[in-house]
Symmetry: C2
DNA sequence: CAAACTGATTGCTTTTTGCAATCGGTTGCA
DNA sequence: TGCAACCGATTGCAAAAAGCAATCAGTTTG
């Protein structure tokens, strides 16, 4: 919530939504990590988000229409968080943000391989990924066999780097 | 400064740089508004930044290598802030951020015309704009006459909308 | 010499962030 | 049936950041 509306500038309004240290981290973990539950986001967060902040941001993102929440039929207490189309269209922004960080900031090799592949894949890969997310989160049909999923591809590359057999990059240790 | 290094993830590191409500606003005003001086940024800011926060962010962005400061020869007290290449390569991110905000947030017509044109111009227009910024801020040569500058084009469109004779859009009032 | 302007700085209050502990309810297992 | 582990949060508290208003010393302008 908390729509300040400091101005109607698109960049300012986007910043009022994402101008904090956690909202995009949560969306990153949902989009690239495939996390859907509170505990997954809490314990799987590499940066160590606190539970009250996670709860606050989930609430806020729901209020903004970026996430939705539904009951998990397998567990009466479990909630499943889903991305809306609004969130899925952030993929190009996250790709650019990762690409920029990879060039200018002290990223680690393991964690930047995903950003590198996503950058090389370009808009075509981003579109494919967004279609996969629409399938997972919105129940949209997935077009006929387009090979391994983007997330699986990124994950496999990450694991290869961790294992020290980086394809095209020098081993970390 | 304040490099937490919560993790070496490119998106996280980018967020540690821009995950606040003001840093990108300042860069937006420098990039699209052409502002170079403290007072220009302070008084020209549509969102009303406070002087202490502006001073803090300028210092921080300099420490990160995103801005540089130089004396203005015409005025012994005046400082000129310049974008580094690191800042100039943010243009695509700002373009995407503006495009996303324009679609999903309650932007005003006057302030979103720039984002619209920049989106339609695509990477080609962004590259041209970045070259112009390199010329202004880094003293790089500008390639032979490529028509009116991107900033001038955006500014003209903005003024046209304000004047109510929006090309292709309905008048605001 | 005075007024206006330069890039800031200081003191202060309000708001946000982040940590640690905890909550009531659910589930799985012995 | 009991009980530990897990579920999505909530609460209390301290620290940090944001934001406001006033002010600063030096510079330029008139």
């Amino acid at each position: 919530m908390s729509m300040d509306r400091r101005s109607g500038c698109p960049i300012n309004l986007s910043l009022e939504v994402f101008g904090d240290r956690w909202s995009l981290i949560i969306l990153r973990d949902m989009i690239f990590g495939g996390r859907r539950h509170f505990r997954e986001l809490l314990n799987g967060s590499m940066e160590g988000i606190a539970s009250n902040i996670l709860a606050d941001r989930l609430k806020r993102l729901m209020g903004l229409g970026i996430l939705t929440k539904a009951d998990d039929p397998s567990h009466k207490q479990k909630a499943i968080y889903s991305l809306t189309e609004m969130a899925i269209t952030l993929v190009p922004i996250l790709a650019h943000l990762g690409a920029w960080g990879r060039v200018w900031l002290p990223v680690s090799a393991e964690l930047s391989i995903r950003a590198e592949l996503l950058e090389k894949g370009g808009p075509q890969m981003w579109d494919k990924f967004m279609d996969e997310l629409r399938h997972e989160h919105l129940g949209m049909p997935l077009d006929t066999s387009a090979g391994p999923s983007v997330r699986a591809t990124l994950q496999a590359a990450y694991e290869a780097v961790v294992a020290g057999k980086a394809p095209g990059a020098s081993p970390a240790a």
